[in-house]
Amino acid sequence: MAISRRVFVKSGGLALFSLGLDPLFLERAAFASYRPLPSSTVLYRPVLVCLFQRGAVDGLNMVVPHGDPIYYRERPRIAVPEKDVVDLDGYFGLHPQLAALKPLWDNKSLAVLHAIGSPDSSRSHFDAQDYMESGTPGLKATPDGWLNRYCQHDREHEDTPFRAVAFGPQLPRILAGSAPSLAIDDLQAFGLRAPQQSGRDRLTRAFEELYAGSATGLLSSSSQEAFEAVQLLKQVNPDQYQPGNGADYPRGRFGRAMMQIAQLIKANAGLQVAFTDVTGWDTHVNQGSSEGQLAARLAEFGHALAAFAQDLGEKMRDVVVLTMSEFGRTVRENGNSGTDHGHATAMLVLGGPVNGGKVLGKWPGLDPAQRFEGRDVAVTTDFRDLFGEVLARHLGATDLSAIFPGVTPDPARFPGAVRA
């Protein structure tokens, strides 16, 4: 597999599963350019989906260290009772509202990274999100995001219009930079808008002609990308999408974003890197335990992830979903039955290539002596080691020092989330 990943067809960024394919087929595939390939096509096209839990998710209530009495001692009102925890390995367990993910754990496609975070000690959402997206903790002036730097570094896919897509109204920091990337708020609204399809077609044609004949420079190339994407999307037909295998996405922005990511993956539209946000984790007040505020957010989160995996079915073979959050929260609950800004948190890695069924990373324990500044879960895995591993082992990135400047990439530090 390591070799086949390098057999790229320039225009589509496809790596074919088996070697020795008819060269004519390769040529056809190259020629087909942006046309979606039939879903039966045998190809290996690794996809990475990054999800940002903005607001700092409480890693300790998401993946509960129920085997540690300190957890219960420090959180008398908000700890998840032992009887409710969905046990994973006898020590850690999922929050009950993440029960939908348990089958993925059981079939070894879900791994948990605990005690992961930034080497920078900032407890500012703003700084910490910024650092996690720029990939350069402590350095604010980094102009681009690490996902975009990955795209710059591996240019094999550069002419695929849907290669890097952020679902949301703006291009997030993580995808900002010189490599082309799309911000799509809603697939159904991407393109020219007009009340009727005939009006849309007319406008599309007119602007396409305008830009083809009158635009220069970047305006010309970007508009070409845009119309190719619109054209491709028309064949994908986002209005008519029916999730596969009876998958049922939760209502709301996050569920819709996950569904549209699945849709683009299944459409063979050339998607390689997808990103979306999921908010509402800043639980300073009345966080709740098995039920309550955080539980409600986790329920939506877990159901959307489970629906995504179910929808993709066999396709999950090529997909890795990586969750991240800027930091974790205090070990001890605060005076308002909530938690304050902490340090390390937990991240989930999900998908076919994942070395699942394990809680990875070195667990520092909750003993006050082991905590960061005496109060927070200590960081034992630098987030860049996990992100770097996913880029290297899943997407085939070869030069991580270009993507995470300032760190010497060292596979020995990879936490082992993706099968080598």
């Binding site: 500012s124 991407f190 602007f207 305006l219």
Partner: protein, 535 residues
Amino acid sequence: MLRPYTSCLVRRHNSARADTERAVISALTPRDSALHALNRLAYGPRPGDIERVAALGVMKWIDRQLKPDKIDDGLLAAREHQFTLLDYDRGKLARLYVEMQRERRDRKRDARAAMDSTVREQRGRRMASEFQELAVVRAALSERQLYEVMVDFWTNHFNVFFGKGADRFLMPDYVEHTIRPHVLGRFEDLLIATAKSPAMMFYLDNWQSVAPGSSPPNALEPSPPFPLSALRRGGHGVRRRVPTGINENYARELLELHTLGVDGGYTQEDVINVARIFTGWSIEPPRQGGDFQFHDWAHDEGEKEVLGVTFPAGHGMDEGARLLKMLANHPATMHHVSRKLCQRFVNDEPPDGCVDDAVAAWRRSGGDLREVLHAIFHGPDFWAPLNTRAKVKTPLEFVVSALRAVGADPDTTPRLAQVVARLGEPLYLHVAPDGYPEREDAWVNSGALLDRMNAGVALAAGTLPGVTVSLDSLIPATGDAEQLILQVNDKILDGTMTENTKDVIRRQTSDIGDPVAARALAVGLAIGGPEFQRQ
């Protein structure tokens, strides 16, 4: 980068400058030079502007724009009255914010959480949206166009992120009273104003930078200058954490972004010493106005050295002022900031000649920004045909120039600011301290281009939210396709329409019987099309 030979001449023989200037400008027609000046010093021409500027003489118009106080701006002043935000000073905004946060918390804590948001919360949200919309309205309506362009430039150069905690109530004051009064003054004054501004101090964390080992007098635990709720939204942790040492954040960005530039020749030692010099520069609690406050007790009184210059021991706030003056007049600063100005006004990759001219004017005038701009606008590079229409409009420039082109009237709702945000430039919401980029590759991407096309079509059809458009007085509806194309080229594209665009409009409108619909389509294609994206 190719540079017209003449620019070398100008720099070597200043006496020949005036003649060369005339010669260079005359390469453009009076109409073209008026259009170029309106594209760069203003947010594009309104109907009739090109003729007015050409008739007055473009250099005369530029000189007038450099003296905005002498330009009557009554129309904008009347419109500003509709923005209640301007009735709120920093203290009033801070109190509103504090109370709003408390009410929101109470509401969340209330078991009957279905309660609606309070009147105060709604007012707070309206303030935030008015703040962003006001930027669009001023850019569109002000007669002092260059002044508004410079407000945008400096707000961006000294970027503050509106979404970070207390900056939600500090920032309107920052734009009104820190940036706006200084945009055409001396760079030094502007730099000092930003350094002392609570908004910048909070954004780049200097308010909590203290000398290691220092503690407040009377052994009192200092209360945090901001309500916990404000800190939580992006500040440091909610516990009262007494700062225990220096914070390098402001020091680094001051050197790297505000003054010297990343290659300006400073070291990490310099950054640390700059941070030490600014220890104690802090903010008073918002209930007392949230103003600048210097804390003697937090200041590091030891000796420091920055860029080889010694700052002797025993000084207080005065050494920060001394440092800012030194940085403001440092050659690296002159070059870094002049280059950014040339990038804004001349070309994304500015020719060395115009940067050199700007630096020379800076040196001559002691950093008088009016003189620096004057040098750029009178230099040959500004007028070189190579540099006209060489820049792609930012989302703000695109939206505002489109409004101006059709003579549209924006309202006070946040909807136009939302259009700007959708195109990629949510105002005051650039998180990183470097501000929005000036280069086209930051703005041109396929999704954003499609959105520009949609915005153009909607504006022409009168369906763009937040604005009233009447095309009748500008381009009368006509069944004559050639007449329509002529008018759209003249009024919207200022004569820059390509033959291809004419063909496309001709074809696309040929089967539309309704002249009003044909006009809307033609204008929409023109605004969403490639010619209009350039300036």
